[in-house]
């Protein structure tokens, strides 16, 4: 604001100075003109003393050979009392001209000042308009309308105001995204609750049926044993499901915070293998770990518990859907930005059409073999969530011996 004021004052001063210089130049030239006239008249009087003097002198002046002021004409005129205000008509003319110059310059200057003031007012009004527009946009943001779209001109020049509008636009979309995120979260919770109730329904119903049969009917010992076993298996299923659901709900509500700490990723992998080792042993499945020796010491920022959980989920599937006497191979490969962990099994494999579905919540394959196995359809979903939160990726592809290869990529640094 202060700077602008200074610019206006400078403009006014500059105008004044230019007009003053112009005036002085004009007046000086008028004054010279006046004295030239006096000189010429004076010289006329002087040359009058010679024969043909006046005529010769006049012709000299006209031919430009003399400027007529070669004599002290003014002195001659002064001698005869023709100088000054009352002395001759030219002085009056000179004064008149000076007056005209002064009056015109005053008018010109006044016009200049008013033009500048008008310009200033216009700029202020424009600024006020801009501020009002911005205020309006902000108050719309406050009332929850974030749809402001800046009508960008895509021209080469870009003013400050334009940048502010652009920033406002992105602020608007940012706020909108936040609001939307909150809404989606609520929506997600609803869906989650519905999904969970749905998942619990089937095993609970089955459990109840088995239990009712067990208590109300007259059963042989063999039958009794069978239904008891069914109850037990349903309960085990329920327990597994509940554990998985607890993990999911924790994950989705941000109760699980992925804490990435620099530690040896090799240890996490080995720990995950330990957890599935017993189940693998039962089926005579051999788990081998391949990778450069230096990787044993590789430090990588990751959450040990949850990364382990993700790997366990993948490994459990590998064991579950593989036949006896097969191999599971884990390969660690250090790339430029990521550590690549490949988990390859020789199991039943996954049809390519299902690649995008297996990571969805509660999705289970359509093949009977999968239906037969216990499972809640959350393991891979959870694994993907965990890996994503590490800034990594998880994908699946076909293995060399018909099984599946799960590829996890974890960034080597934050």
């Amino acid at each position: 604001m202060k700077k602008e004021k200074r610019i206006y004052i400078a403009a006014l001063m500059a105008g004044l100075i230019i007009i003053l210089i112009f005036d002085v130049l004009l007046i000086v030239s008028y004054r010279r003109n006046y004295y030239d006239k006096l000189d010429i008249i004076g010289s006329m009087v002087y040359y009058d003393e010679y024969e043909d003097g006046v005529i010769n002198h006049a012709s000299d002046i006209l031919k430009g050979e003399s400027d007529g002021a070669d004599t002290d004409g003014v002195d001659v005129l002064r001698e005869y009392g023709y100088l000054g205000r009352e002395g001759n008509v030219f002085y009056g003319e000179f004064l008149n001209n000076v007056l005209k110059v002064v009056i015109i310059s005053v008018f010109l200057y006044a016009a200049y000042v008013s033009a500048i003031l008008l310009l200033k007012r216009h700029a202020e009004k424009h600024e006020k308009n801009e501020l009002e527009t911005i205020e309006k946009i902000i108050s719309e943001f406050r009332s929850g309308k974030y749809d402001y779209v800046f009508d960008e001109s895509f021209s080469e020049k870009e003013g400050t105001a334009e940048r502010i509008y652009m920033q406002l636009e992105s602020l608007g979309s940012c706020l909108k995204a936040l609001k939307e995120e909150a809404r989606l979260e609520r929506e997600e919770t609803k869906v989650l609750v519905t999904d969970i109730s749905h998942q619990l329904k089937t095993p609970v119903a089955a459990l109840r049926t088995s239990f009712e049969i067990l208590t109300s009917m007259d059963l042989s010992t063999d039958e009794r044993a069978e239904f008891s076993e069914r109850c037990r298996s349903q309960l085990r299923g329920l327990e597994n499901l509940l554990n998985a659901l607890i993990n999911i709900s924790r994950m989705e509500h941000g109760m699980i915070e992925i804490k990435r700490e620099n530690s040896r990723i090799f240890d996490t992998v080995v720990h995950a293998v330990d957890r599935v080792y017993v189940k693998a042993e039962e089926k005579h499945i051999n788990i081998s770990l391949e990778g450069a020796d230096s990787l044993k010491e590789l430090m990588l920022p990751h959450d040990r518990k949850w990364t382990g959980e993700a790997l366990i989920n993948i490994l459990e599937n590998a064991v579950k859907y593989s036949d006896c006497d097969t191999h599971i191979t884990i390969r660690l490969i250090k790339l430029v930005t990521f550590l690549r962990i490949e988990i390859e099994d020789e199991g039943i494999g996954i049809p390519a059409e299902e690649y995008n579905n297996i990571f969805k919540r509660f999705y289970r394959g359509s093949v009977e073999r999968i239906r037969k196995e216990e499972g809640s359809g959350v393991g891979l979903y959870l694994a993907r969530e965990i890996i994503s939160r590490h800034g990594g990726t998880i994908t699946v592809s076909k293995g060399q011996k018909g099984g599946s290869v799960f590829t996890v990529q974890l960034p080597l640094k934050d």
């Binding site: 979309s173 909108k176 995008n356 800034g391 592809s397 990529q409």
Partner: protein
Amino acid sequence: MDTILKTENLCKYYGSGQNEVKAVQNVNLQVENGEFVAIVGKSGSGKSTLLHMLGGLDNPTSGKVLVKNRDIFKLKEDELAIFRRRKIGFIFQAFNLVSSLNVWENIMLPIGLDGRKPDEEYVWDIIQTLDMQDRVYNMPNTLSGGQQQRTAIARALAAKPDIILADEPTGNLDSKISEEVMALLKMSAQKYGQTLVMITHDEDIAQMADRIIVIEDGRVVKQ
């Protein structure tokens, strides 16, 4: 949701009469802000043509492309060029690096073209994220394919575009490097809040996307 990119009955036909080829037919799709969408299709399915139209590189026969609700084909030719420079980052299969400029100069090129002051700190952060800090003064022909594509990714990200359009970004790379470059692209787009639209024929890579759009004979068959 906050839609950033939308098409309305987008069509592109080449030739006329019996020789008419319908490269893209009545495509209606929507991409949300911050989303990672993969457009999957076989070669010749029209996916490249579609992507070119999304980025304003090619004019449609009919239909609209709306970026933040603005019809980009209503812009004048030079406005469209500036729009592309500011709002869209392109990544191509062939990397398209300028061979006479080093890595740093290649990355700064689009910003320089726009006459904007580059946010050098931001660019450095990108370069570090992409692990190219040791090669900023290398010439493109001294880089491996993966490094060249990292440079192209950095170039696309550096101008802070709203949308990144990637045309088979890993088509020239072997599978391990492809997957790493893709993970990197995804991670960076996430980090810098950019929307990513990628076309590919590689199912493995498409899995990393939030959503897959399948295109066949110029039509969207699955969203």
